[in-house]
């Protein structure tokens, strides 16, 4: 009966034995309850405004973990460096390239990649044309039963338009989320034990990352195929109740694989 689950698990081409972060005993959290309430857009809030808020919050959260591997130790070394991580990778099957100024993909040590990523994202977030902060520019969401005048102005042509976000805003946010996802994937594949597990931070990492996945999928900031390097963990979180059945993340998961992982750990 678990045949198809094993096939699917094998298709991920995961290393054997399986990485420790796929062990259900270590896939736990610092928070209990339904995280969905944290990422669901409040009914009255215009979509672009909510997306902007989520981008900034998740970026702050991610950097909280990156800092641990990114800051220099007293001997001048960082935990993520060109020796430990010569490429920006998420396991053997995934490595990420950065586009240089001539739009050619180049391979970079993870540390360099993260530096560029950080510079690029904060450049966007701090740009008040891309992420307006002016209190007077705000709007609200459509509610066909209530907001008639808003409808007279015609349907929104792009997410955030009525709140003053530019046309490319949503696309930029998708790219920001994709970049952030890659960094999370690198943290899991390359740094889960060294240092997060040893520093007793794996539950914190799990909670922030699962909240990230729930938000990204709920707001269509990441597409299902983009989740690939972390798919088995997503399967596991669907099976162990981290992702509620009504969430998109749950929908994108292969429940059988998740249940199989629980079973392998003797927890099903």
């Amino acid at each position: 009966m678990m045949g198809s689950a094993d096939e699917a698990l094998n298709a991920y081409q995961l290393p054997k034995p399986l990485p420790i972060w796929l062990n259900p005993a270590y896939a736990r959290h610092i928070v209990k309850g339904n995280f969905m309430t944290l990422s669901a857009r409040p009914k009255t809030v215009e979509e672009g405004e909510w997306v902007a808020h989520q981008v900034v919050e998740h970026y702050r959260n991610l950097w909280n973990f990156v800092r641990v591997i990114y800051e220099k130790e007293e001997d001048g070394k960082t935990l993520c460096n060109s020796t430990t991580c010569p490429r920006m990778s998420a396991g053997a099957n995934h490595s990420y390239t950065w586009l240089n100024s001539r739009f050619e993909p180049i391979e970079l040590p993870a540390f360099e990649y993260i530096t560029l990523m950080q510079r690029w994202i904060s450049g966007k977030i701090d740009d008040t044309k891309m992420f307006p902060t002016e209190a007077s520019g705000v709007s609200f969401s459509h509610n066909p039963q209530i907001t008639t005048t808003a409808l007279l102005n015609g349907p929104d042509e792009w997410v955030g338009k009525r709140s003053g976000f530019p046309q490319e805003f949503f696309g930029i946010c998708q790219t920001i989320f994709l970049q952030m996802f890659r960094v999370y994937a690198h943290l899991y594949w390359a740094h889960y034990t060294e240092p997060f597990y040893h520093l007793n931070l794996e539950k914190q990492l799990n909670s922030c990352f699962s909240h990230f996945v729930l938000t990204a999928t709920a707001l269509d900031l990441l597409k299902p195929q983009e989740l690939e390097p972390m798919q088995p963990l997503i399967d596991l979180w669907a099976a162990n109740g981290t992702f509620p059945p009504e969430s998109k993340a749950y929908e994108y998961a292969n429940l059988k694989v998740g249940q199989r992982l629980l079973q392998l750990a003797g927890m099903a």
Binding site: V31, L38, E46, S163, P195, L201, Q204
Partner: protein
Amino acid sequence: MSSPEFAPPPERRTDTYGRNAAYNQKKCFQVAQGFFLDAVRRARERNDRLKDLERRLESPEMLLRREQLWSHSGKLEARYLRFLRTKEQLSNYSVVKTIGKGYFGEVKLVRKIQDGRVYALKRLFKSEMISKEQLPRVRAERDALAESDSEWVTKLYTTFQDNTSLYMLMEFCPGGDLMTILIKFQIFSEDITRFYAAEIINAIEAVHNLGFIHRDIKPDNILLDRGGHIKLADFGLSKSFRKDHDSRYYQELLQRPASTSQMTRPGNRVSVNIDAIQLTVSNRSQINEWRRSRRLMAYSSVGTPDYIAPELFYDQGYSFEIDWWSLGTIIYECLVGWPPFASENPQDTYRKIVNWQHTLFFPDDIQLSHNAVHLIRCMITQPENRLGRNGAIEIKSHPFFAGVDFTTLRRIRAPFEPPLTSDIDTSCFPVEDLPQTEDPTPSPAGADEYEMFLPFIGYTYKRFQTSYT
């Protein structure tokens, strides 16, 4: 839990990492935890607001205003989200005047450049606090103010920090404080005393209902708003029963090799200390001397012990009743003109307080009603007998307050309404006594925006406002 299918979990070793990793570990731990606490609180509050909106949308008399309700709510939420996204820093505000001072910092009247609103900005210097073991105070103050939505407590809009200081942006209470009024009028009638006492009772009750003991109820911490009604300030000493308000918790966080040098000196403000203040209660001219020096006393490091309950001096523990003792001493002061244990120096005050059975007396030349004396004696007494130990209702039912409607206090006219001419009128503050020089601007926000003192993580706070412009 180990299964052959999974890589075996190695033994955890924290010790192989450098000092910076250990530091970042704590930081990371706290930020992640703080994020979820904060996010959950915000989601819960947001939900309450939404329910409230839905309720109002349903009501028949709102039928024509539904669209307006909806859009207003959406815009308020959006402004709050923008407020959360923007970085708070000192340069967002222009200073109007310094209006108050304490040992750890100062309070300024400021105007927010973006929207022109005025606020009181309290600044606390980090260096002072680390060396004086004052961290739990700061956290407690932030939490007490943040958690309160009470009209009896000054509202806290946001907190932020830079390399040198912590900032608390609060609502500005333009009426000054009760100490300033007492200095001006020296003595209150029983009616006026009754008014302030009744308001202070409600305020203390509100604080207790939040689970906090204020511990520092005294005239300079009782502020007056636009209408002359009181609000409590300065929760620095307030104590709640939460783990991270425990001094030891911060001591552990601070166990970093770099900065341990001068942490042994207890800087507890309650401890009794130094500056002799000349005063003999029997001598009128020296009472005036005491009055002049009381403001200086308020600025000094230990403050005055005049209002502190005796059990706070012992290690045996204390509870909510200590705030009622303080109220008793304030009522005494309002009626008599000086607090009951006023002395030449803090040591003598301290001695008198612990000996209150023998030292509490009422001067013959001041006429006090029987009820007033009885009330004061019921509050300045041992905790087991102290009025208020079973709740504020005990005090409210005392005959001294006969006829007072405690539920409508804020709607009646206050005895002293501040005569204000503008939104930045500081005539109720001793601004001439305070240094008005610009202080050194803090080191610029810093290359690393995440660079902050570990114990101050989680200090940043932003309140939802129902009145964004």
